[in-house]
């Protein structure tokens, strides 16, 4: 496939993310990957639910005392908004507007970074309070579940940064359109997982 083929907004295909066979493969493959990720997180959630508040005798932490809703709320808004900004990016991708797409992606990345920063803050706060990874089954399950999500966010950030810089000079083509598109799928998926995290972990945790 020719990388140098130049498009105009008029010739840019309606579904650039799956215009070639390679692109279709990536597109379907990535969806399947997300299907597998669903089960991965389901297992983590299941374990968390089974081990919630379980610790050694005399264990002093409970979900109710630990979690702080305001922080979680801010994090939620950040991530949800970043989901919308990546929708904007894809909107511009489909309209062959490379500059705007890059811009919106950059905003997405910044929002994601803020989210990650808050998460790091949250974790370090817990650790300071003595709620460490190794202090109980509950803490292990909590840090693993939420940490795996955070890890996914971090991967997404690296990915989008690489995409933005790698393609800055090259512009949109049918080769990298799929990459941008799968990134946005990934990013939405992270958001989906977060919806369950704030519901199952934090809100349900506060209810008890």
């Amino acid at each position: 496939m020719d990388l140098n083929k130049k498009f105009t907004p008029e010739t840019w295909p309606e579904h650039p993310e799956r215009a070639t066979l390679e692109a279709k493969n990536k597109f379907v493959g990535f969806w399947l990957f997300l299907g597998g990720e669903t089960i991965l997180f389901a297992t983590l959630f299941a374990t968390y639910m089974a081990l919630k508040n379980k610790g050694p005798s005399g264990f002093g932490f409970s979900t109710q005392e630990l979690y702080q809703l305001p922080l979680v709320f801010v994090m939620t808004l950040l991530l949800l908004t970043s989901s919308l900004t990546s929708v904007y990016a894809m909107h511009h991708m489909k309209n062959y507007n490379f500059k705007k797409m890059q811009l919106w992606l950059a905003i997405t990345a910044i929002l994601g970074l803020c989210f990650l920063g808050l998460e790091v803050y949250e974790f370090s706060h817990y650790v300071k309070e003595g709620f460490t990874f190794g202090n109980s089954a509950f803490s292990s399950a909590f840090f693993t579940l939420v940490g795996t999500h955070g890890f996914h966010v971090a991967i997404g950030l690296v990915w989008v940064t690489l995409l933005i810089f790698r393609n800055a000079k090259r512009g949109l083509n049918l080769y990298n359109a799929t990459k941008y598109y799968t990134f946005s799928l990934y990013w939405h998926f992270i958001d989906v997982v977060w919806v369950f995290i704030f519901t199952v972990v934090y809100l349900m945790g506060v209810i008890g």
Partner: protein, 626 residues
């Protein structure tokens, strides 16, 4: 291709295999790797049987025996049976759907190397002398209590190999979804392709839980986690659930491709279309789905309570119905056919009674209250070897004989093939039939030795003799392979004469781009249709001769996996050594750099020109290739 490789010398050939992304070569690599581990696992099995030959035997120590059963189970399932099946899937499935390669050739190669290095990692434990010893199920209380690095090898090795499996699964799925030749609708796909599809879908959903479970185990053993430590609030039953949520689908991941191979064989060597094709497809999908609903039948005695046991018992028994549909459809395929007793067909015919016997004992175990007696007794060992050896291994042996000419262009000796079959088949029943009774008579599984006077002596002796016969069978097969390779008598496109699907319409071995022109598929068993219409090329092209786009080879998969391998050792030794942590970080950085290299360097592949292809076609016409 092969003549070119020879001229370039050994180093270049090695490089070629290490960097290949050709699905056929990767298929062969899988077969070699899996075959190697099959022999390793088989030797472990032989030692197990020798130890149990007579009461109070002390050929191996108690600890070593546990190492042996654990490694035997793990090796056979993860490193032998699955990779060998992957070999067939890789080689045959794209040919069956008329594709030029799999969807992600690069990832295909990555998947293979991850399997290989994962297996290597696991088996290095023998060199260090700290071997996994908690059974292939590694139940958490024991696997946390186990000292040394044995279980660490298990957790990390399987993690690496499992990652490779997951990639292979996604790859096969996308290939089948997107790369079928024109006219190859879902309901025209050969059954081996269908079973590959369903097995891959099961991999997609079954392996993530294993990944998570192994991470938990790794965390608990090496990084201070508490998932399974009940003194810290953990729960060992979680491991059991996670393991079997993976583990039960896993056994169907093994058996479905085996079913696929047999479906091809029955149809080819009866000269008959598969009876009830749509029902076969439906049954395959149903087995795949139900396979996820029954995992707790491995946990009937854990104490889940009568309600859970009853539900899972009934769900388990339900699987007998779609499986039965398959069995009877096979029987009706040979019924009214023209059965030719070739070696692959012998295996297929041997498979039917063997697998039914294994399957029905599975249903007996599914009756929960009865399983209270049978669980963890030799009856279980008998059951699963009946389905695995009588199903999966027979399919593998059948597949080797069936596809050998397609892969290497030369036919395995039929006489030696039949000798192998007789030894293996007789040995197999001799080994495992009697074990049902050992279970009834109260012999628990995973016992290192047994006291005299419990009435188990003769039965164990018979069982061990059977294992010996199986070994002889395998050795004859090895001899067969060597002799065939040395003789190297070339064969044509359709060496069995009765091929029905696309892979039999192209040269043996196929050119690296598979099809000179993408074929047009005109129905189920398209090659058979063409043959009946007197088409000597056996194919109707769907496109004119044109340039073919092929992917470039790459060494990066090998490198990436090597990074994982290094990181694995780092993780394992990070607690007691000063170099562990740096090694872990170095390994991870290595992987990251390889990945970045891959993503920065665009891989656009290359073209095989029209002229080259036309030349190949002309050569073939002149009979140069055949």
């Amino acid at each position: 291709m092969s003549s070119v490789a020879q001229k370039r010398g050994f180093g270049a050939a090695l490089w070629d295999w290490m960097t290949t992304v050709d699905h056929k070569k990767i298929g062969i690599l899988y077969l070699i790797g899996g075959g190697f581990f099959f022999v390793v696992g088989g030797i472990e099995a032989m030692i197990i049987r020798l130890q149990l030959l007579k009461p109070n035997n002390d050929l191996v120590s108690a600890g070593l025996f546990n190492d042996l059963i654990t490694m035997h189970g793990t090796t056979m399932i993860f490193l032998a049976a699955m990779p060998i099946l992957f070999g067939f899937m890789n080689y045959i499935m794209p040919l069956q759907i008329g594709a030029r390669d799999v969807a992600f050739p690069f990832i295909n190669s990555l998947g293979f190397w991850m399997f290989f290095f994962g297996g290597l990692f696991l088996n290095i434990s023998w060199l260090i002398g700290q071997v996994p010893d908690a059974g292939w199920t590694s139940y958490a209380s024991l696997s946390l209590a186990s000292t040394g690095h044995g279980i660490d090898f298990y957790a990390i090795g399987l993690q690496i190999a499992g990652g490779g499996t997951l990639m292979a699964g996604i790859n096969f799925l996308v290939t089948i979804i997107n790369m079928r030749a024109p006219g190859m609708t879902y309901m025209r796909m050969p059954l081996f392709t269908w079973t590959t599809f369903v097995a891959s879908a099961m991999i997609l959903f079954a392996f993530p839980p294993l990944t998570v479970g192994l991470f938990f185990l790794t965390f608990d053993r090496m990084f201070g986690g508490n998932f399974f430590d009940h003194t810290m609030g953990g729960n060992t039953i979680i491991w059991e659930h996670i393991f079997w949520i993976f583990g039960h689908p896993e056994v169907y991941i093994l058996i479905l491709p085996a079913f696929g191979i047999f479906s091809e064989i029955f149809s080819i060597f009866s000269r008959k279309r598969l009876f009830g094709y749509p029902a076969m497809v439906f049954a395959t999908v149903l087995i795949g789905f139900l396979g996820f609903m029954v995992w707790a039948h491995h946990m009937f005695t854990v104490g889940l309570g009568p309600t859970a046991n009853a539900i899972f018992a009934v769900a388990t028994m339900a699987i007998a119905v779609p499986t039965g549909v398959k069995i009877f459809n096979w029987l009706l395929t040979i019924w009214g056919g023209s059965i030719s007793m070739t070696t692959p067909m012998l295996y297929a015919l041997g498979f039917i009674p063997s697998f039914v016997m294994g399957g029905v004992t599975g249903v007996m175990q599914g009756a929960a209250p009865l399983d209270y007696q049978l669980h963890d007794s030799y009856f279980i060992v008998a059951h699963f070897h009946y389905v695995i050896v009588g199903g999966v291994v027979l399919a593998i042996l059948a597949g080797v004989h069936l596809y050998w000419p397609k892969m290497f262009g030369t036919m395995l000796s039929e006489t030696l093939g039949k000798i192998t079959f007789v030894f293996f088949f007789v040995g197999f029943h001799c080994t495992f039939l009697i074990q049902h009774w050992l279970g009834f008579w109260g012999m628990p599984r995973r016992v290192w030795t047994y006291m005299d006077g419990q009435g188990w002596n003769t039965a164990n002796l018979i069982s061990s003799i059977g294992a010996l016969l199986m070994a002889i069978g395998v050795i004859v097969l090895v001899i067969n392979i060597i002799m065939t390779t040395v003789k190297n008598v070339r064969v044509g496109n359709d060496p069995w004469g009765d091929g029905r699907t696309l892979e039999w319409a192209i040269p043996s071995p196929p050119p690296f781009y598979n099809f000179t022109q993408t074929p047009l598929v005109r129905g189920l068993d398209t090659v058979y249709i063409e043959k009946m219409e007197g088409n000597t090329t056996m194919l109707t092209p769907a496109e004119p001769v044109q340039d073919i786009h092929m992917p470039n080879g790459s060494i990066i998969p090998f490198f990436m996996t090597f990074g994982l391998f290094i990181a694995g050792f780092g993780a394992m030794f990070h607690q007691e050594t000063s170099w562990g942590l740096p090694l872990l970080i170095f390994g991870l950085a290595w992987i990251f750099v390889s990945m970045a290299m891959r993503s920065v360097k665009d891989d656009l592949g290359f073209y095989v020109t029209k002229e080259e292809i036309q030349r190949d076609i002309d050569n073939a016409r002149k009979g140069g290739r055949n």
